[in-house]
Subunit: 170 residues, 2 copies
Amino acid sequence: MKQAPLSSSAEDESTALRKNAANENLDFGILANRIGFHLRLAQAASFQAFRDEAREIDLSPGRFATLMLIGRNPGISQTTLAAANGRDKSTLTPILEDLEKRGFVKREKMKSDRRSYQLTLTENGRKKLAELTACAKRHDENLDRIVGPKDRAKFLKILQKIAAEVGHKE
Amino acid sequence: MKQAPLSSSAEDESTALRKNAANENLDFGILANRIGFHLRLAQAASFQAFRDEAREIDLSPGRFATLMLIGRNPGISQTTLAAANGRDKSTLTPILEDLEKRGFVKREKMKSDRRSYQLTLTENGRKKLAELTACAKRHDENLDRIVGPKDRAKFLKILQKIAAEVGHKE
DNA sequence: GCAAAATGGTTTTGTACCCAACTAATTTAC
DNA sequence: GTAAATTAGTTGGGTACAAAACCATTTTGC
């Protein structure tokens, strides 16, 4: 008696039985159609793939965005940085501490406002960023292949729209 | 109104000035065009929005998928469940422990294989799932509005494609 | 039949993250 | 000018997750 006491009448049991067989015949219910759910699955998969790709570089995917943003916006503050890549500022504290300790990032108190730091890359940081950029390119080529060149722009636009609008509606 | 009254005289150019002004004039470099990056931002925003929406229900978004999958696939094992929603099985251990303790999920050793559990919802679990489903519907309506009905199906398909294909490229 | 491999779950360890409370510096309000 | 509010960053508490090492129970090989 494996299972499937539910709806044994209306549904065919053969599919229900197979559900436990550890393969793909699962009923996802409303999830099958939920954008949020698939967004999470896709993100997790992409994240994992990037990490594998960048394993040799020894810098997690989260750090990549951090380095890039500092590199392109020298003097940026931690708060601005946090907002730009969608994380809480407290999340950045240990990350920057680490990046500084490893010699990729320099933090200097601003003259005009001694509360905040000006973040810049060191020469080493720039080198690391270049490595990571190459790595990210490989990764994105892979994603591009999956998404397809025709839909890429549109897809990207929708993602940005979600990030910008969900939450603060109205 | 914020402004940028920093460094009236010194070293910075006008662009540099604006970068610290906490607004959107940042240079995202290659990130601006990276699917992985925007996937992360969109996911984080959506996740956050869902959590806010479901705050009154006192069950995190991650648990929703768990309950749904158990509800639709009674007798499912933890390993299958983990695979179905893209998490490691070890992640589920504390979650299921909690859900069981709260009386939403029942875990029974299988007769045929005493290593694995058969997971089912309790009556209470079914009630909770119904609540959460309503909540998820609201949330997804919001997302649907943002994505737009015309692109929804396509968008969803691409997300699924990413989850399925990235990583184990063939 | 029994050692070895495989499998379901748990434990342990470590990372990434958020939030709320906090410190220090700066702005505002009066 | 000083008290109150605001802002940049840190700290502490807690959740969610993965990876690897680990039991216990099958399953497989011979």
